[in-house]
C-alpha cells in the first residue's frame, strides 16, 4: 500500500499543518491521498474543493488544483467545475457543520443529481474552527459553547440522509479504522456517480475537552468500540443498536451519472439540429 511516491501529492512546503497535535483531520487527509493514489487518478486532472472549517484547510496541503470556498458551498462550486469539464475528477472535503448545517441543501441535491463527485465529510461532531459550537452531528446531551446545558438537538445521521437523497455510493468509517476508510474513499472515487464517505473523527480540542472524553487516543478507542461493521451491527440486540453505529459500505448502486446524461443530451440535440439544419 505504501507508495514511495505518496509525497508528491502533498504541498510539503505548507506542512506541518495548522491542525492541533493528534487531530483526526490529518489522518483523514492522509487517507484521501492514499485513496487518490490507489484509485489511480491523474494528479493533473484532479480538483480538491472544500468549504470553511478546520476541515476546509485540507486542500491547502494537497498538490492538485485546489479551492477553499465559502462556508457550506463546496459542493455547489464543485458541481460547476464538474459540469464545465466532466473530465476532471472532483473531490470535495467538508465538515459536519460545513456540509450538514449550512451546506445541507447542496449536499442533498448533489446526491439527487448523482453527479460524479466524491465527498468526504470530516465528521468531528463539532464546529472546530469557531471553537466548539454544536453541529448537527453533535450527540444529544453533549456540551458545546452554544449548548452550555447540554445539546437538545437530535444528531443527524448524515450517511442515512445522503442515501435517502440519492447518493449512489455511501460509506462510513472512522479515524481509528483508517484502512477501511482508505478503501471506502478509493471505491467512492472509482464509483461513477455521487459518492459520500462519512469519516467520523475526533476533535479532542473542542469536543473532547468540553465533554471529558480525553485525548485523541481515548476518543479513537471510543470509535473502535462503538462503530461496528454493518453486518455485525445487524446482529446486535435492539438495545445495543441504540448505542452502536454502523461502519463500512452502506450503499452502492448504479444510476446514470449526471454529466454523462448531459453529454448524451448534447449529442442528441446536436444530432437533431443537424437533421433539421
Amino acid at each position: 500500500m505504501a507508495n514511495p511516491d505518496i509525497n508528491k501529492y502533498y504541498r510539503r512546503n505548507k506542512l506541518p499543518h495548522i491542525w492541533c497535535p493528534g487531530c483526526g483531520h490529518g489522518i483523514i487527509t492522509g487517507a484521501i491521498v492514499r485513496a487518490i493514489d490507489q484509485a489511480g487518478l491523474d494528479q493533473d486532472k484532479t480538483v480538491v474543493i472544500s468549504g470553511i472549517g478546520c476541515s476546509g484547510r485540507a486542500p491547502g496541503y494537497l498538490k492538485f488544483d485546489t479551492l477553499h470556498t465559502t462556508h457550506g458551498r463546496a459542493l455547489a462550486f464543485a458541481t460547476g467545475v464538474k459540469m464545465a469539464n466532466p473530465e476532471l475528477n472532483l473531490i470535495v472535503i467538508t465538515g459536519d457543520g460545513d456540509g450538514a448545517a449550512i451546506g445541507g441543501n447542496h449536499l442533498i441535491h448533489a446526491c439527487r443529481r448523482n453527479i460524479n463527485i466524491t465527498t468526504v465529510m470530516y465528521n468531528n461532531s463539532i464546529y472546530g474552527m469557531t471553537s466548539g459550537q454544536f453541529s448537527p452531528t453533535t450527540p444529544t446531551g453533549s456540551l458545546a459553547t452554544t449548548a452550555p446545558y447540554g445539546n437538545i438537538d437530535t444528531q443527524f445521521d448524515v450517511s442515512n440522509l445522503a442515501m435517502a437523497a440519492g447518493a449512489t455510493y455511501v460509506g462510513r468509517s472512522t479515524s481509528y479504522h483508517v484502512r477501511e476508510l482508505i478503501d471506502l474513499i478509493t471505491n467512492g472515487i472509482k464509483h461513477q456517480g455521487f459518492s459520500f464517505i462519512e469519516a467520523v473523527t475526533h476533535c479532542h480540542t473542542q469536543f473532547g475537552r468540553k465533554n471529558d472524553l480525553g485525548g485523541p487516543m481515548e476518543m479513537m478507542e471510543w470509535q473502535k468500540e462503538n462503530y461496528i461493521p454493518v453486518k455485525a451491527w445487524a446482529k446486535l440486540s435492539a438495545a445495543e443498536k441504540e448505542v452502536k453505529k454502523t461502519r463500512g459500505l452502506l450503499k452502492e448502486e448504479e444510476r446514470e451519472e449526471y454529466t454523462d446524461k448531459y453529454l448524451a443530451l448534447i449529442k442528441q440535440v446536436q444530432a437533431g439540429e443537424e437533421k433539421n439544419g
Partner: protein, 378 residues
C-alpha cells in the same frame, strides 16, 4: 453568420450576446423577470456543446458559475433582486479570487418580494455595495435591446480582461421588451479571453502579476498547474498567511486593476452638451425617456444636454465632475427613491446643483415628466 434584423427580447439579447462572446456555461435559479435568460440558455447551450444547469438555489448558482469559470469556461448566471441578495456572499468570493464571470440582475421593484413584474433601478447601490467588505465593482446597464447585446459582449470582455465578475443590470423594462436588432456578425466583434499562463508550471504563482495591468494570468483547472485558491487574503502564491501586508497588497491590486482599465471600461454617452446649461444624467431604461425628453426640450429651445451612463460602476468620477463644471444643473431621473443621484451629487462637489427625479413604485418615468422638470429648472 446571420446579420439580418431580428426581434429580440432584452433577456433573449443577453443569451445572444453571451453566445457571441463565447459563453459555454450557465448556472441559475429561475426568478421573474429574468427567467427567460435561463430558459434561453437551456435551449441554446447544448446546441453549441455548452452546459446549462438549474441549481437548487441562487447561492449554489453563483458558486457553480464561479466553478465553471475556474474550469475554463466563460460562465454566466442570471437573477433578480431576491436572488441577487442571495448571491452576495459568493459574488464577493468571486471578486476576491478573481474569477471572471457575468452576473445578470434583471431588476424588479423591491425591497423583498416587492412588485415582481414591475421595473425598478432600486438595486443600483446594491450592485456596488451588496457584498461585505471592500471590493471593486464593475457594473453595466443597457437601455435598449440592441445595446444589451453589445453590453453583454462587453461584460464578458471586461470580466475576462480584468479577471473579475461583471454585473449586467437590466431593469425589467429592458429585460422584457422586444425590439428589432441587428445582431453583429461573429467575426465583426472583438472578443477578449483571459490571459492564461505561459506553461511554466514549476513554482507557478497564480497571483503573480507580470504586466502593468495588475491582472495575473489564470490557468484552467486540469492544466497541471496545481494551484490553490481561497477567499482568505492570500499572497502571490495563492496561500493565506494571515498578514496585513498581504491583505493590503491584494486589496490594492484588486482596486488598481480596475483603475488601470478605467478609461477602457467607462462607457458614457454624451449628447447636446456643448451649449447646455442643464443636463439630464440617466442610465438603463430611464436613459431612453431622458434622451427623448432632452430632444423634446431642445425642440422647444431649451439648452439641455444628456449623459447616459452605461458603466455605472466604477463611478465615472471624471465625466461627472466635468459635466458639473460645464452645466449649472444636473437632473438625475431614476426608478428608485434616489440612489445614484447621491453619487452624482458627491462627484459634482457643489459645482452644479443636482436634482433628483424619482419613481420608486414600479412606474416608468415618461419623457413628458422629465421634460417638465427640465422646463421647470430652465
Amino acid at each position: 453568420m446571420k446579420t439580418e434584423k431580428v426581434l429580440l427580447q432584452g433577456n433573449e439579447a443577453v443569451v445572444e450576446g453571451a453566445l457571441l462572446a463565447g459563453v459555454r456555461f450557465f448556472a441559475g435559479y429561475p426568478i421573474t423577470p429574468s427567467s427567460e435568460i435561463a430558459e434561453g440558455f437551456s435551449r441554446r447551450l447544448p446546441l453549441v456543446g455548452g452546459k446549462f444547469i438549474q441549481m437548487e438555489d441562487e447561492l449554489g448558482a453563483m458558486a457553480a458559475t464561479i466553478g465553471g469559470s475556474l474550469a475554463g469556461l466563460k460562465s454566466i448566471t442570471a437573477t433578480s433582486g431576491p436572488g441577487f441578495s442571495l448571491k452576495q456572499e459568493n459574488l464577493g468570493f468571486g471578486i476576491m479570487i478573481e474569477a471572471p464571470c457575468v452576473v445578470v440582475n434583471v431588476s424588479r421593484t423591491g425591497p423583498s418580494t416587492g412588485l415582481p413584474t414591475s421595473p425598478s433601478q432600486g438595486d443600483i447601490m446594491q450592485t456596488r455595495w451588496g457584498t461585505h467588505g471592500d471590493h471593486p465593482a464593475v457594473v453595466l446597464a443597457p437601455s435598449t435591446v440592441s445595446n444589451t447585446v453589445d453590453l453583454t459582449i462587453k461584460a464578458f470582455n471586461f470580466s475576462e480582461m480584468l479577471r473579475t465578475p461583471v454585473i449586467l443590470m437590466l431593469d425589467e423594462v429592458v429585460g422584457h421588451m422586444r425590439e428589432n436588432v441587428l445582431l453583429p456578425a461573429a467575426d465583426a466583434i472583438e472578443i477578449i479571453d483571459r490571459k492564461r499562463p505561459d506553461g511554466n508550471k514549476a513554482n507557478f504563482k497564480p497571483y503573480e502579476v507580470k504586466g502593468h495591468d495588475h491582472v495575473p494570468p489564470m490557468p484552467d483547472y486540469g492544466q497541471g498547474y496545481h494551484y490553490h485558491t481561497t477567499g482568505l487574503y492570500h499572497d502571490e502564491t495563492g496561500f493565506p498567511r494571515g498578514k496585513s501586508e498581504d491583505a493590503e497588497k491584494l486589496m490594492l491590486r484588486l482596486m488598481h486593476k480596475v483603475d488601470y482599465y478605467r478609461d477602457e471600461i467607462t462607457l458614457v454617452e454624451k449628447k447636446y452638451l456643448s451649449d447646455a446649461k442643464i443636463a439630464v444624467l440617466a442610465y438603463g431604461s430611464v436613459a431612453r425617456s431622458a434622451e427623448s425628453a432632452v430632444e423634446m426640450a431642445r425642440n422647444n429651445g431649451i439648452k439641455v444636454g444628456f449623459m447616459q451612463i452605461k458603466t455605472v460602476w466604477p463611478f465615472p468620477e471624471k465625466e461627472v465632475a466635468e459635466l458639473a463644471q460645464k452645466v449649472d444643473k444636473i437632473i438625475v431621473p431614476e426608478l428608485n427613491y434616489g440612489q445614484y443621484v447621491r453619487e452624482v451629487t458627491r462627484a459634482a462637489g457643489g459645482m452644479a446643483e443636482v436634482i433628483p427625479l424619482n419613481r420608486f413604485a414600479g412606474q416608468l418615468i415618461s419623457p413628458a415628466t422629465i421634460k417638465e422638470m427640465i422646463e421647470e429648472e430652465d
